[in-house]
C-alpha cells in the first residue's frame, strides 16, 4: 500500500518554528473574591512555544511536536505542556496518526455537538488565542479513503476539559462547603477507552457527515457520598450528523446529535446530565468587503424532563426543557488585513443571559501582533453564562513569532 505513494522530488526535512507570547486578563468586576481565588488577574502568563515538524521525501511518514513552556504568574507556577506530539503514516488509501493530537469535528462556530474532544473553557473565558480553545487527545486516529467517502476512527484515552475552577474564577457553589473533594478520572483500561467515528463525503458541493462516539462527559459530575464530594466523568454515547453548503450568497450549516447518558438512562441522577438532543442551524455571509456576519441558533432538548425536575436538589436553578442559545459573529478587517475587529456573542434565549467577546488585533509585522479584548458575561445569574458575571475581564495578548 505504501508503495503506491508517488515519490516526491524533494524532502521537506525538519522545520522549527515557534513564538513567545504574553497574555494577561484583568478582572473588571469589583467583587470581593473568596480566599484562594486569583482575584485581580485570572490569567497572567508568559509562554514560549516551540514547534517541530518533519516528513520524509515521499511524504508517507512524518511527525509534529508542539511544546509550551509556561510561566503562570496567576497561579505562581512554571510548567512544560505538550500541546501536540504525534507521528504519521500515510498511503494513498489509508492514514494513521498516533500521539497527542487536536481533533476538531462539526460545523458549529464555538458550539460543539458531535465534537466531543477535549476543550479548554478557561482559555476561552480569559481570551486566549483560538488555538488554545481545544486540548489535544491522546489517540490513535485512522483514516480510510475508499472512493468518495472519508472514514475516520479515533481511539483515545480520557482527557478532561479544562473547566473553570475557584482558583481563577468566582463561582457559585451550591454543594456543601467544608467537605473534602476529589475527582476520579477514567483510566486507560480497554473498557474505559473512547471510540469515535466519522464518515464524510460530498453531495455535489454540499458536505454531509455522520458521527458516532462512545466517550465520557469531560466536566466532572459532582456527587456527595460518605462525607466527601466525588467528581466522576460519566459515560457518554453520541450519534449525529451535519450538513453544510452554499445558500444564497452565504454558507448554511446544520448539525444535530443525540447525547445518551448510559449511566442514568432514567434521568433520575441529578449529578449526571440528562440524555438530550442537540441541534444547531448557522448561516454566514459577507456583508461588504472584508466584513463577515455569522448567526447561529442552538438548542438542547432534555429527554426525561419530569425525572430531572423531580430529582433536582434544592438550591439548584432549574433549566428549561429546551435550552435555546443564539450566537452572533461580526468580523471586519482593515488596513490590508493588518487590523481585525471581531465580536462574538452568545445570547441565552432560555436563560436570559449573555457572553460577549469583542476583540481588536493589530499585526505590526508578519511576526508581531497584539490583541486587546474583553469577556463580558451578564444577565440572569441563574443562567450558565450569567453565573460567570463576576468574572468579566479585559485581556491583552502580544505574540512574537519566529
Amino acid at each position: 500500500m505504501l508503495a503506491s505513494v508517488p515519490p516526491a522530488t524533494a524532502a521537506e526535512g525538519i522545520a522549527w518554528n515557534g513564538f513567545v507570547q504574553s497574555h494577561v486578563a484583568a478582572r473588571t468586576s469589583g467583587v470581593n473574591c473568596p480566599d484562594g481565588t486569583e482575584c485581580d488577574f485570572p490569567s497572567a502568563e508568559l509562554r514560549s512555544q516551540l514547534e517541530t515538524e518533519g516528513k520524509n521525501a515521499a511524504g508517507n511518514t512524518g511527525f509534529l511536536g508542539r511544546f509550551d513552556l509556561l510561566r503562570d504568574f496567576a497561579l505562581d507556577d512554571t510548567r512544560l505542556e505538550t500541546r501536540e506530539l504525534y507521528g504519521d503514516l500515510r498511503s494513498e488509501k489509508l492514514a494513521a496518526r498516533l500521539g497527542r493530537q487536536v481533533i476538531t469535528w462539526g460545523v458549529g462556530d464555538l458550539l460543539f455537538i458531535n465534537d466531543t474532544f477535549p476543550r479548554d473553557q478557561v482559555a476561552l473565558f480569559t481570551g486566549q488565542p483560538q488555538q488554545y480553545l481545544k486540548r489535544g487527545s491522546d489517540a490513535l486516529k485512522l483514516n480510510a479513503y475508499p472512493g468518495p467517502a472519508n472514514l475516520e476512527w479515533v481511539i483515545a484515552g480520557f482527557r478532561p476539559d479544562n473547566t473553570p475552577t475557584s482558583r481563577r474564577f468566582v463561582l457559585a457553589d451550591p454543594l456543601p462547603a467544608g467537605l473534602p473533594r476529589r475527582t476520579e478520572e477514567p483510566g486507560n483500561n480497554p473498557n474505559e477507552l473512547e471510540i469515535s467515528g466519522r464518515v464524510s463525503g460530498y453531495l455535489d458541493n454540499w458536505e454531509l457527515s455522520g458521527y458516532a462516539s462512545r466517550t465520557h462527559y469531560r466536566s466532572a459530575a459532582l456527587g456527595v457520598t460518605a462525607g466527601e464530594i466525588v467528581g466522576t466523568y460519566p459515560r457518554l454515547n453520541t450519534l449525529g450528523s451535519s450538513l453544510t453548503g452554499p445558500a444564497g450568497k452565504g454558507v448554511l450549516s446544520l448539525e444535530a446529535g443525540y447525547y445518551d447518558s448510559p449511566q442514568d438512562r432514567a434521568g433520575r441522577d441529578p449529578s449526571i446530565e440528562n440524555s438530550q438532543f442537540k441541534g444547531l442551524i448557522g448561516y454566514s455571509r459577507q456583508l461588504w468587503e472584508d466584513a463577515t456576519l455569522g448567526l447561529q441558533l442552538y438548542g438542547e432538548w432534555m429527554r426525561d424532563y419530569s425525572a430531572y425536575r423531580e430529582t433536582l436538589p434544592a438550591g439548584f436553578p432549574a433549566k428549561d426543557r429546551l435550552r435555546k442559545v443564539t450566537t452572533f459573529r461580526f468580523t471586519q478587517l482593515f488596513a490590508h488585513q493588518t487590523v481585525t475587529f471581531n465580536v462574538f456573542a452568545f445570547v441565552g434565549l432560555s436563560e436570559r443571559d449573555h457572553y460577549v467577546i469583542p476583540s481588536l488585533r493589530y499585526a505590526f509585522s508578519d511576526n508581531l501582533w497584539a490583541e486587546i479584548g474583553a469577556n463580558i458575561f451578564g444577565g440572569n445569574r441563574n443562567g450558565m453564562l450569567g453565573s460567570l458575571q463576576d468574572n468579566r475581564n479585559v485581556y491583552l495578548t502580544v505574540r512574537l513569532a519566529f
Binding site: 516526491a8 515557534g18 483560538q130 472519508n150 452554499p246 450568497k249 454558507v251 450549516s253 508578519d366 511576526n367
Partner: protein, 268 residues
C-alpha cells in the same frame, strides 16, 4: 436628382463597407480579445503547479511576505476550476491552506484549513472583489473573472514596451469598486501586459503590470507581476517560481482530505 443622390449614397456605403471589411477581418471583437486573454491568463494548460512569493509593500516601504504553493486544475470545457493554496510562510500562518471550487456561472465554494485547531471551515465566497490575504490583488485577480461580468470595447491597437497590443476598455455590468478598466492585451500571446482601473470619479485606482513574461513549455506565462493601489500607495509584487503545466494533478487533491494534509508530491 433624387436617384443620383441615392446612387451616391449607395456608392458611399459600398466604399465604407469595403474599407471596414479588412479591419474587421484582421481584428477580433473586444469580447473575443478579452475571452482569449482570460483563457491564456487563467486557464493555461490543463493543470498548473507554481510556487508563489508575494510581497506586500506599504507606502512607508514596510514589507510583509507570503510564500505559497498554488495548484490549479481545469475541469473540462465547463470553465469550472479547482484551486489549492498552501501557505509556507510567514510562520504564524504556516500550514494554513485554501481550497476553491470555482464556477463561471455561480458563487465559488471556498474552504480554509486552520492547522492549530485542525479545523476545516467553509467560508462565504461572495467577495470576489475582496483583497486576497491583504494584498492589492482581489480574489478575482487571482482566480479570474467572467467575460460576461463586464462590457468590452476595443479602443485601438497600440504597442506597449515593444509588444504589439490591443487596448480594450471594460466596464463592470454591476456596480463595483471600479467604474472602468483599460487593458493592454498582447496581440500574439494574449496575456494582459498592463491594466489600469479607475474609480467612480474616473480617478486612477489600481495598476496591474506584467513585469516578466516567459514561455514555459507551450505556455506563455506572466512570472513576475505587480499591482499598485494608486490612491493608498500600497503595492504588491508577485513572483512565480517552479511553474509547471500539465503535470497530472488529480481532482481528488482538491478535497477536504488534502486540505487537512497537504499532498507531499505537489506541496514542497
Amino acid at each position: 436628382m433624387k436617384s443620383f443622390r441615392r446612387i451616391a449614397l449607395f456608392l458611399l456605403a459600398v466604399v465604407a463597407v469595403l474599407c471596414a471589411a479588412p479591419a474587421r477581418a484582421a481584428d477580433p471583437s473586444a469580447e473575443e480579445i478579452v475571452k482569449r486573454s482570460l483563457e491564456s491568463f487563467y486557464y493555461a494548460g490543463n493543470d498548473m503547479r507554481v510556487r508563489v512569493s508575494m510581497k506586500l509593500i506599504n507606502v512607508q516601504g514596510k514589507v510583509r511576505e507570503r510564500e505559497m504553493t498554488l495548484l490549479r486544475l481545469n475541469l473540462g470545457k465547463s470553465g469550472d476550476q479547482r484551486y489549492y493554496i498552501y501557505f509556507h510562510a510567514p510562520a504564524d500562518v504556516k500550514g494554513t491552506s485554501f481550497l476553491v471550487w470555482k464556477y463561471p456561472s455561480k458563487e465559488d465554494d471556498r474552504w480554509i484549513y486552520v492547522p492549530a485547531l485542525k479545523l476545516v471551515k467553509r467560508i462565504a465566497a461572495d467577495d470576489k472583489r475582496s483583497s486576497f490575504v491583504g494584498s492589492d490583488f482581489t480574489y478575482e485577480d487571482v482566480s479570474g473573472r467572467d467575460l460576461e461580468d463586464e462590457t468590452h470595447a476595443l479602443v485601438r491597437k497600440e504597442d506597449l514596451a515593444g509588444r504589439p497590443a490591443y487596448l480594450v476598455e471594460s466596464k463592470p455590468r454591476a456596480p463595483s469598486d471600479y467604474s472602468r478598466r483599460l487593458s493592454w492585451i498582447d496581440r500574439e500571446r494574449w496575456l494582459p501586459l498592463k491594466e489600469e482601473y479607475f474609480d467612480a470619479r474616473n480617478e486612477p485606482l489600481r495598476t496591474f503590470s506584467a513585469d516578466k513574461v516567459e514561455q514555459i513549455g507551450k505556455q506563455w506565462t506572466v512570472t513576475v507581476r505587480g499591482m499598485k493601489n494608486l490612491q493608498s500607495g500600497h503595492r504588491t509584487e508577485v513572483v512565480f517560481r517552479e511553474t509547471e503545466f500539465d503535470v497530472g494533478i488529480k481532482q481528488d487533491i482538491f478535497t477536504e482530505r488534502y486540505l487537512r494534509d497537504a499532498p507531499a508530491r505537489w506541496v514542497r
